[in-house]
Each structure stands twice: as structure tokens, then as C-alpha cells.
Symmetry: none
Subunit: 222 residues, 2 copies
């Protein structure tokens, strides 16, 4: 992960990015409308012109296989699709395990996330689902509310989106420091719990597409 950071931190690169007109204002706008939104903005994101960074082409970042497939993206209308895409590669084991109890509802972590985002479910109830407690046969039911960005366990409604502490903190730092990220690949990296720290650019993009916004404070959209 450091490699990305280092690359990004190069002042030269950064300045050049800025010069290219990558203004902050842009993104901002996005946020506001979709406070806690369904993630429909994704459509817009998908339409983003292909970023043509040399880096991505030169480096062979195989470990980044999990890109958010473009075809997938197309459908982005359904944010969920974002992730659904993919993953040609075996989905995170952890996830599957987790889902074992829940097969009917979610086959993969991807779907987990996608179902959440695609659904225009904004209410807490809609976003959460019960998972049988694997440690006992009791009727005890554990409620697992996934982060709309990475699928990890959400800790609440942050910046307008049901998200985990990690994505919440990441988004906070991003907007506070006005950090400019960039993707070393094609800007379509898969963002799930297991690799959310691999690409800051795509993680931030995912945050935005999920509807995160500085203005979505408190329960404006609940």
C-alpha cells in the first residue's frame, strides 16, 4: 500500500494533477445531491473518461485483479452492480463463510454490498439483515449491517451512508486534507474489506458513489 501512497505523495505528480484541472469543486457537487443516496451517481462516475496514467499500464499490478469491471460499471445505475461485477476471482473467503448462513439472500460479498447499494433502501431496516449465529443453534440472531463502501461491518450512518469505521475515517481524512488520490490502474479497482486499502482513489470514488457527503449530517436522509 505504501507504494501507492508514495507515488501519490510526490509533489511533482500532485501539482501536475492540480494543474490538470482536477478541481475539488467538482466532486463536491456530487455529494450534496446524494446524501445518503442510492449511489446513483455512479452513473456519472462510470462515465468518467478513462484515466490514462502511465503508471497503470507500466506496472503489472496483478494483485489488483479485482477491478470493477467496466461492463459492470455500465450498469452502474445500480451501484450495487459496482461490485457485482467482478470478481472473477474467488470472492473473499471470509465473506463466503459469513454468508454461509445466508445463502438465500447473498451468494457473495459482492452481492451483499450491491444489494445494499442498488436498493434504494435508505432506511436502516432495509440496510440490515439478520445472520444466524454460527456459534449456537439458539434463536439468537446477529444483525450484520454491511458498509456500503467495502462491505465490512458498518458502525453507523456516516456522511450520509451506512459505513464502517474505516471508510468513515478514510472519507473524513480525505475531505479534511483535500487529498488528491490517483489510481495506478484503471480507476476501477474493486473495493471490499480485504483490499480497501489498496487503492485510495478507488476507495474514495466508491465512497462518493455510495453517496457519502460532508453535508449529509445526522439523519437528514434517514
Amino acid at each position: 500500500m505504501d507504494i501507492y501512497n508514495n507515488l501519490e505523495q510526490s509533489s511533482t505528480l500532485r501539482s501536475s494533477l492540480v494543474k490538470n484541472g482536477c478541481s475539488d469543486i467538482d466532486i463536491v457537487a456530487v455529494n450534496n445531491n446524494n446524501c445518503g443516496g442510492s449511489g446513483q451517481q455512479d452513473d456519472d462516475l462510470d462515465d468518467l473518461p478513462e484515466v490514462s496514467f502511465d503508471a497503470s499500464s507500466d506496472f503489472n499490478l496483478d494483485f489488483f485483479d479485482t477491478t470493477e469491471d467496466s461492463s459492470v460499471q455500465g450498469g452502474f445505475s445500480d451501484p450495487g452492480s459496482v461490485e457485482s461485477v467482478s470478481v472473477g476471482s474467488p470472492p473473499p473467503v471470509a465473506v463466503n463463510k459469513f454468508l454461509l448462513h445466508d445463502d438465500n439472500e447473498f451468494a457473495t460479498a459482492e452481492r451483499l454490498s450491491s444489494s445494499l447499494s442498488s436498493a434504494s433502501a435508505n432506511t436502516k431496516a432495509d440496510q440490515q439483515f439478520a445472520v444466524a449465529d454460527s456459534n449456537s443453534n439458539s434463536s439468537v440472531v446477529k444483525t450484520f449491517v454491511p458498509c456500503k463502501v467495502c462491505g465490512d461491518k458498518a458502525s453507523g450512518y456516516h456522511y450520509g451512508v451506512t459505513s464502517c469505521e474505516g471508510c468513515k475515517g478514510f472519507f473524513r481524512r480525505s475531505i479534511q486534507k483535500q487529498i488528491e488520490y490517483r489510481c495506478l490502474r484503471d480507476g476501477k479497482c474493486l473495493v471490499i474489506r480485504l483490499n480497501r486499502n489498496r487503492c485510495q482513489y478507488c476507495r474514495f470514488k466508491k465512497c462518493l458513489s455510495a453517496g457519502m457527503s460532508r453535508d449529509c449530517k445526522y439523519n437528514l436522509n434517514r
Copy 2:
């Protein structure tokens, strides 16, 4: 009212503020006279001399774009700026697209806010307007009374002003704790529902300019 005094009891920063034209005095004056006022003061606020904080210029606090400067605000394109954080790579293009979304909600918010301040409506009747219930075709009409401070739905007449629970609580805490706020920008932050929590200084200032006063208890002035 002590709080006002406190505001004037300048610390270094505060004094500098005053020097820059962002005088607290202006605010104070507003208060006392306008218990349950019409909100016309807003106009006055706009006329306030430009406060020139260094901070704003040095830091790129774009997320604070929402100043109450009408000219700046333009079509509210601005709010987006809120998060000004920009995702580095896929640059510029993204921006424009994003801006497309916003307008509806913000425009509405703006109109709300502006209608409130500009209108010299003093009566409840004048301040409230009906909104057709979009959920049904019935003749049911929902009455929406906007908060004179942020435009959110007002819950009643608090501290002399038709306001929402949020601004009511905010004003209450402010005068109870005699908190001293300060604006990181130019003292002209836009205060609307979506970003009312961004700048306490400007929110409080707006409360005062709307006519909120500790002395305006109950409906003595109605």
C-alpha cells in the same frame, strides 16, 4: 445575552475579526431589536463588508464555499464545493458532470432560504406555504413552515423566531454555555439545512440576525 458580550470580549483572533469588519457588534444590535423580527436583517448581513481572513485564502477550504454571498452562490452550484476534495485522476470532466446533479435540491434550499430572508413576511401565514403531497393525489396538502435560520422544517416559534428543532437547540446551547464561535472563512458562510453544522459562528450569527433572542420567550411578540 452574555454570550454576545463574550463575543465582543475578544481574544486575539476575535479582535482581528472585528478589525476586518466582521464585528460582533453588528450582530448584537440585531438581536435586541428584532425579537420575533421579520428576518429582513438578512439583507443587512449580505451587505456586511467583506471579511478578509487569511485562513480562507491560505487554506483551500473549498468545502466552505457556501458563503452567503449571493453573487457567489449563483445557482448554488456551489455547495458542491463542500467537499472539494478531488479525486485526483479522472479529472476535470468529473466535475462538470457532478454539478449537474445538485441543482435541484440546492436550488430548492436556496430558494427556501432566500424566500425567507427576502420576503418581509412577518405573519405565520406569510411564512408558510403549502406543498402538495407527492405521495397521493388526494387533495391533502401539507403545510411546510420553514425555519428562518436554515430553511428546515420549523417546529414552532422559538426564541422569537419560527425555527426548527435543530436551530432551537443550537441557539439554546449557545446562550447557555456562552460558547464563543469563530468562522474559519469570511463570516459569510451560507446557512442552510444541509450545511448548517459547518460553521457555528455563522449559524449563530444567522440565528441572531433572524431575530432570535433569549428574551423573546413564548409568543409575547406574536
